[in-house]
């Protein structure tokens, strides 16, 4: 009884004894770079230099679908002739769609969108333009959405810290919070480097990842807590290493199932959710990495010396 059954299990990972904590210096360098990148992106967002979506920056975005392909250059020329300045054009991966964005804010919104639609209807009549969507955000609403977004991130991180701090020891709370911030910053930084648009949909992806990555961290902490009760003589490094190895296959499998969902969303979910699912995919990978290589090392880093020095 017992062992025979184990033979039938399909396992990605079996009885690993990886010394995760020995990599923590490398991990700190990698995470430091990622976090700095995120902070830099955050500052750029604050300065208005990042690729902010119209929902945050204010302005006008018009997406148009054509019957047959149109060269971006032709559209640029037509719009300039129509008197429009300071706009950017973006080709959408799906066929014959373009996104025109005017980031300059208007006191009274409506004029830019009207100009764009009129120009398109006149200049490209033969390509049968269809207006997919129009988004006009006044400066007041844009500013409000920015504050709301910042508040959302802060409030959720604080709530999570309180919850984890309540369920676990304080230092675990700090470890989890650092890891969560790290994930959010890393995705932000990577999106900044990729020059992807930073908008409301990305925000919801960020918060989803914050929650999900924390789930991962909590599962690991749960095991560490359990093992701390059993392994009184071992060092905290050993306890954490053992715990990480024990839950490793679980960590990988759970990430994998969500990754399967996110990948199908990325490839088949349509253009609007494309960047959202990209953020989720990046976030899943970084979140899994951070619960192993960021959250637990931080616990060691700020753990009281008494616990750490408990040598065999």
């Amino acid at each position: 009884m017992g062992y025979e059954e184990v033979e039938h299990m399909i396992e990605i990972i079996k009885n690993t004894k990886i010394d995760f904590m020995s990599y923590r210096k490398v991990a700190f360098i990698v995470s430091g770079i990622l976090s700095l990148l995120g902070l830099f992106a955050l500052i750029q967002i604050g300065l208005g230099k990042a690729n902010l979506g119209v929902d945050f920056a204010g302005g006008t975005a018009v997406q148009i679908k054509f019957h047959s392909s149109v060269a971006l250059q032709d559209i640029r020329v037509a719009l300039e002739k129509g008197g429009l300045k300071d706009f950017d054009l973006q080709d959408l991966p799906t066929e014959n769609k373009i996104l025109i964005r005017v980031k300059k804010q208007e006191e009274k919104i409506g004029a830019y969108a009207e100009t764009i639609i009129n120009v398109m209807n006149q200049s490209f009549k033969d390509k049968k333009p269809v207006i997919d969507s129009v988004t006009e955000i006044g400066p007041k609403v844009g500013a409000r959405m920015r504050t709301d977004a910042l508040m959302a991130i802060l409030v959720s991180v604080i709530c999570l810290l309180i919850y984890v701090g309540w369920r676990f020891q304080f230092r675990f709370g700090v470890g989890a919070t650092v890891a969560t911030f790290h994930d959010v910053l890393a995705i932000l930084g990577i999106f900044y480097i990729l020059d992807k648009e930073i908008n409301l949909i990305l925000l919801s992806a960020l918060l989803t990842i914050a929650g999900y990555s924390l789930t991962d961290t909590v599962v690991i902490f749960d095991r560490i807590r359990e093992n701390m009760k059993k392994m009184i003589k071992e060092t905290i490094e050993d306890i954490i290493n053992k715990s990480l190895n024990e839950v490793l296959s679980r960590t990988i499998v759970t990430t994998l199932t969500v990754l399967l969902s996110a990948l199908s969303l990325f490839f088949f979910g349509g253009e609007v959710l494309h960047d959202f699912s990209l953020a989720i995919i990046i976030g899943l990978i970084i979140g899994t990495y951070s619960s192993i290589f960021v959250a637990s090392p931080v616990v060691i880093l700020i753990g009281n010396k008494a616990t750490i020095k408990k040598k065999k």
């Binding site: 009884m1 017992g2 062992y3 059954e5 184990v6 039938h8 299990m9 009274k108 919104i109 269809v130 207006i131 997919d132 969507s133 129009v134 006009e136 955000i137 006044g138 609403v141 959405m145 709301d148 977004a149 959302a152 409030v155 959720s156 709530c159 999570l160 919850y163 984890v164 369920r167 409301l200 949909i201 925000l203 919801s204 989803t208 929650g211 999900y212 924390l214 789930t215 909590v218 599962v219 839950v247 679980r250 759970t254 994998l256 199932t257 969500v258 990754l259 399967l260 969902s261 996110a262 990948l263 199908s264 969303l265 088949f268 979910g269 349509g270 609007v272 959710l273 959202f276 989720i280």
Partner: protein, 540 residues
Amino acid sequence: MKKGIMWRLILLVITSLISIVFFLPNTPFFDYMPKIWKDIMPNKGLVLGLDLQGGLHIVFEVEGDKAVDIAVERISSTLKGILEKKKLSASVKTEGSQIVVNPSNAEIRNAIEKEYPILVPNESGGQVRYKLTDSEAKRIKDTSTDQVLEIIRNRIDQFGVAEPTIHRQGENEIVVQLPGVKDPKRAIEIIGKTALLEFKIVDDESPLAAELPQIIMSNEEEQFLQKFKTRLAENQQILFQRIINKETGVTTKRPHLLKKETLLTGDLLDEARVSIDQRFNEPYVSIVFNPAGAKIFEDITGKNVKKRLAIILDGTVYSTPVIQERISGGNAQITGNFTLEESKDLAIILRAGSLPAPVKTLQNVTVGPSLGKDSIEAGKLAGILATILVVVFMIFYYKLSGLIADLALMLNILLLLGAMASLNATLTLPGIAGIILAIGMAVDSNVLMFERMREEVRAGKTPRAAIESGYKKAFWTIFDSHVTTLITAAVLFQFGTGPIKGFAVTLSLGVSINLFTALIGTKTTFDLIHLKWDMKRLSI
């Protein structure tokens, strides 16, 4: 033990059935149901958000300050009457939201302040300036927002949109959602137009009138006004009429010198409808005043025979017919090169009434119907694919136990759709993403338990004991992980708008239901199997 399983089974079956009933209206099967079912049972189901079915989401700000200015203007003209009646001579002017009375003496102030306790005086340099008390100004702003809301609702009703959502947001904002609107530009124009209809007399007798040019270019307006500003008397103003050359399509403007006083406004309208001019085959709007309005109109026309009457809408002159004779009965016409559609819309707006204060568009999101349709199709495909991938993976990795987890996953999806339909929740595009991610996360709880069970089996426990302790040990971990996701979803719900709220709803419902399906659903199945076949080996 046996009894416990029984109850849990019944619970699972009942919740599934309820979910099916609620979600049925969103499936093609609903069409085949008998009529009595459609009448009695839930028939609304999930509502598609604007981003999926196309439509218009627009946020207006009511410019309450302007409503205060208008109220002050009104008080000022009543004050003139009061002072005249009491034979007190003083000039009464408005400057923005202030009324300036000159000269200031006890008698005049007394007369004014007794009548209007809501005015706060500020005397200096022989004149007195009045402004409204803060509470009165606030009340006016507040009421104007409510009135605008009411009028916009009327206009939309008359325009005819299925299931519009119109509500107030914060102090002075109004959110309008119009699903499936075909012509968003026209809808915005109908909703957002102030539609202040005014009647004034054209001041042809003033020597200045002869100096005004017939036509100026439409971009010269500012310049032109600047030039004549200093020469206007206190009771005069210049407004423009838009002239469109029918052949070239070029718009020019014709300035009119008017007497500033508004003799009559559209408030006193009874009816407005479209008629067609027989001779020119041109549409116009004919209006009928109510008895009070008709009386005033009769007075005005009687007093001003052979003069021109300017008909002004939102500060633009539409026509200036010569008054031939006293007009009783209260009928008038608004002409001005309208298309049929424009005149129809104008009639709608006039019937619904003018806005007590102008509105400013803060936000406008319009989604065309085809984008929404594409998004739904893509979402369906991604959802089905995600389900298949996860289901296959679980069976491959956990064998029979994986199959049990898959059943729980199906139950999870069914209950999630049912719960959303029962709340008549709005399904948005990010909401679809939330469901698809929830599919991947749904099996996580089972993965946690299975991995625990494997550890127990490795430790040499019997299948029965492995299942029990696997569940017990994994419970708090699962609970914690669900709470963390719920916290972020709650925050998103609090701070998010429209589509993001939809995402928060699906995510939090998905996670909560998962707690139920993973803990009750899979456990019951395991128990049931164990009861029937006394497991010798755990297929995990």
